[in-house]
Symmetry: C2
Subunit: 129 residues, 2 copies
DNA sequence: ATAATTGTTATACTATTAATATAACAGTTA
DNA sequence: TAACTGTTATATTAATAGTATAACAATTAT
């Protein structure tokens, strides 16, 4: 699991870490049940504080992406990530709304927008048939 | 221009204000050249500080959505919002990426995702044909 | 049994951001 | 002259991000 952080970004480090773990799961590089480095090991690897890693891990656990056993360490959720419910869909819509509004203002057509999304979905598609 | 703020949200107030102005432009409720309330009037209207409004206005100006004349006040860009360039598209992709990754993890299909986007594009479509 | 490692918790500190509160300035308009 | 425009400056409060140590309890390896 290679993590690449941008310390100049205004996106918080723990958020970048969260996103890359989630992307790893979506890309199926991280399989259900697979272990992740301990908070200290991960922190040392990428050169940040263990509390920053812990914050990311705690939120990933809270959101169902990983499990944390006191003994076994950190593990990608063996049952898979919980399916989206209505609250997830609502949050997704609320996040998309300003993106689409700006796109409309700037002349990005629905077709182009959709094509852009599809391209990213393909990045996560891996012999799934 | 009705503004609706959620003071409990973790989305900053000035960001909420920005988004609603942009949505108003996308929805064509705010036409090019149309005036917006002065920073003080807007602040009094929605019950926030004038600096918070000013911050939103400055960023909207910086991003090409509005113009601010010392005399004429605040006006929706009469030339229309500048078209998206490559940097806009890159930012859009970067913002969409974690959304799509999480959607993939949670079993939201590309079809559902695209349908969700299309629904929002329709919200902004107004006898444009 | 000892040592090392695990997640977890607590405390403290710095820096940045969000938001508010006054106040003032310079130019425009009524 | 008075009221209003955007703008700037200064100060304060609260919250968040990130780091730095330190310790505890439980497990694992030597």
């Amino acid at each position: 699991m290679y993590i690449n952080l941008d310390f100049e970004s205004n996106e918080p480090i723990y958020t970048q870490l969260k996103h890359q773990v989630i992307a790893g799961i979506a890309r199926k590089e991280l399989a259900p049940g697979e272990g992740l480095p301990s908070v200290r090991a991960m922190a040392a690897d990428i050169g940040i504080n263990l509390h920053t890693v812990n914050k990311a891990y705690q939120q990933l656990k809270q959101e169902g992406f990983i499990l944390i056993h006191r003994q076994k360490g950190v593990v990608v959720n063996p049952d898979g990530v919980p399916q989206a419910d209505e609250s997830h869909r609502a949050r997704l819509e609320n996040t998309l709304h300003p993106l689409i509004a700006e796109s409309v203002c700037r002349g990005i057509s629905e077709e182009e927008f959709v094509k852009l999304c599809s391209k990213q979905f393909q990045e996560f598609a891996k012999e799934e048939k």
